[in-house]
Symmetry: C2
Subunit: 406 residues, 2 copies
């Protein structure tokens, strides 16, 4: 790692925040979880065989043959915003196209909102266990993290949030994943949604609502996201990466139109705002009307995989392990006894049983050690027939690991 | 514009830098320069009719039918880095694929390097008249700008650079466009390239070398960029937006491999680094070997348009106007008498003669007023037969404007 004091004699001096990058310890895990011979429950990947390659290829051909400006600089297409408006209406969110701001995936939406609200070394309110993409977006701004715990049943501890705010904390924003929390696989209750929005209004703190998993619901539709309750304080982050395809980089923010000039400036600053070929192609794909049935297929297939994983956990995992049935998303979060370091467990699991997961430490905010005994299991990527055997092998390692007293 | 003190009663509070966004005065110009009935020399657009739509469509079909992981999350393709390595070799730059870092266009490359080196409120050394995309990348970090003048003949004033550095300034970086400067349309001499690199080494200051125009050369190949002279202090920014197509967002950084982890972290932070479909498709397009002849076509056609514009300027513009013949890039920079405010001129030009250009004020760093009498004329976008009549109309407005004593 480079440091701002020039680790290597000849190097240019980098900004101080670069020293805060999570180091080699975590990066060395990636070769482990991506090995070809390993059954990996590690990443939040869609099922490759369910990606709509043919329909997308047809849309791509249409756009490239019919639109002579397809490869030129142009403005983000209004047609895609109108499609997104319709998708959001199906989640109970009413918004206008001028409140929709297109981004290169949800990560860029998050990065933009972080930079819109957060001063260098400002404060943010985040759960102790949080999506790692939020953490990478925050790092260059070196914020003070006001961390609140999360319950295994109810999610973000709203008493802790209120207590921070009542004591005078005024974070730049509160970050929340309403449905299918990554990594905790929880969804907030309606009462929690209402309470959090009320706190945002009362204390005048924007909520960054990350809703990339709300469309992947397995027991009927998810509740409407918080943006359905408030359009002034809730800044909604959406994406087609989980439901259509990750490589297309279609994400968006829903925000009051007054913030558009600043968001537009940020997008210009980041990448000039011109991934329009992908946007035009996705819009053409959505024109065909096949997306609702594609979504239904995903819900059915991913629902089967979720159930297969839940059944396998019940059949094979030790009694000390705890998890909940997720209603949305791509993950099951399993809490193991507190003495277990799941990074060590991962190394053993890959070595002895060729099975991988994401260790909880990846999601621990600002060096917090509380999540080290958790593991995040993805159930969407592996074919259903690999899930039970993979979980059984993981359970074998785990039991061996627990017996060895590690 | 939103302010950090909440212009509207109900608004969430935005970060302080948002107040520094260039305001409505400049934004209001954009509808003017994009009006359908206007001959626009304003933007740095490729010729739409020369974009390789068919070849790109064929590559897109190949990738989507042959690569089942085309829509999935994956790592940036090594094959594209190897193609870029070959392209750079043709510019006299030797580098390895592990020194090439793919980005979403040159803007994201610039944004990443700015964030790699620059602390909040740190110093940077930039020309007084600079590419506006650099300015948007800098704004959120609120730097102190050490501005140096540029000569109409020699470009960046290297005596001024040296004087700043000798007096002890240690900016986070020096930003330079080596060939086809945007907007000044100059290329640095070989002596200037060598001198600037020597200063970078001597004072240990990285150079951000923006080379997006070096491949568009009209009087034989451009000189090798500064990266050919130094691989430690020169951080090279490249792009296919000007030579292949803007909508694909293919750009790159060439940097010592030791900086890869930090650049990778920044890319993850910004957009997760997964625009791989576009990267795979461009790589497949480059596999076919048609790019060199496409480049030759661009050089020939754009060269004709450049010459048409130079001839028209000579035929129609008043004697007081000054410009140079650019050897690279997309622009001709014209200096008008110092009393002329080219924003006012633009308004009159669009209104009375339906012709547009980019006024110099857009490129003035940090409120500097020195460029207000300059205009940037793009010669690549308009068909060659529109150039002479457009310049003639612009000259008519200009002469009227000068007579009116504005």
């Amino acid at each position: 790692m480079l440091t701002s004091t020039s680790a290597h004699a000849g190097h240019a001096t980098v900004a101080q925040w670069v020293q805060n990058i999570k180091g080699a310890a975590l990066r060395e895990l990636f070769p482990l979880v991506t090995r070809a011979d390993v059954t990996s429950f590690a990443f939040g990947l869609p099922a490759a065989e369910l990606l709509p390659l043919k329909d997308y290829a047809a849309a791509s051909s249409r756009v490239l043959s019919l639109d002579p400006r397809a490869l030129q600089y142009q403005l983000p297409p209004e047609s895609l915003k109108i499609h997104i408006q319709g998708l959001l209406a199906s989640r109970g969110v009413n918004c206008r196209p001028d409140q929709i701001f297109l981004t290169a995936g949800a990560q860029q939406a998050t990065h933009s909102l972080v930079n819109l609200f957060l001063e260098q070394r400002g404060q943010v309110l985040v759960e102790e266990v949080a999506y790692e993409g939020l953490q990478t977006a925050l790092t260059p701004l070196q914020p003070e993290i006001l961390a609140v715990p999360s319950g295994m049943e109810s999610g973000m501890d709203l008493d802790a949030v209120e207590s921070q705010l009542v004591r005078g904390a005024r974070p730049a924003f509160i970050y929340a994943i309403t449905d299918g929390h990554n990594p905790l696989s929880l969804s907030l209750s309606q009462a929690s949604r209402i309470r959090l929005v009320e706190m945002a209004r009362r204390f005048r703190i924007p909520i960054l609502e990350d809703d990339v998993f709300g469309f992947l619901s397995y027991d009927g539709p998810a509740l409407p996201p918080m943006r359905a309750l408030d359009e002034e304080w809730v800044f909604y982050i959406g994406s087609l990466s989980k439901t259509l395809a990750p490589a297309l980089r279609i994400g968006w923010i829903v925000a009051p139109a007054a913030f558009s000039p600043a968001l537009h400036f940020l997008k210009q600053s980041n990448d000039l705002d011109t991934t329009t070929l992908s946007q035009l192609t996705v819009s053409s794909y959505l024109d065909t009307g096949v997306f609702p049935s594609h979504l239904a297929t995903l819900r059915r297939e991913y629902g089967k995989r979720r159930d297969a994983m839940l059944n396998a956990l019940k059949a094979h995992f030790p009694l000390e392990a705890r998890w909940r049935k997720p209603t949305c998303g791509m993950f099951i979060w399993v809490e193991l006894p507190p003495e277990i370091d799941t990074i060590d467990l991962l190394r053993m699991a890959v070595k002895t049983e060729q099975v991988a997961f994401m260790p909880g430490a990846i999601f621990a905010m600002s060096g917090n050690r509380g999540a080290r005994n958790g593991i995040r299991l993805n159930f969407t990527h592996c074919p259903v027939e690999q899930i039970e055997p993979g979980v059984a092998r993981l359970a074998r390692v785990l039991k061996r690991f627990m017996r060895s007293g590690r």
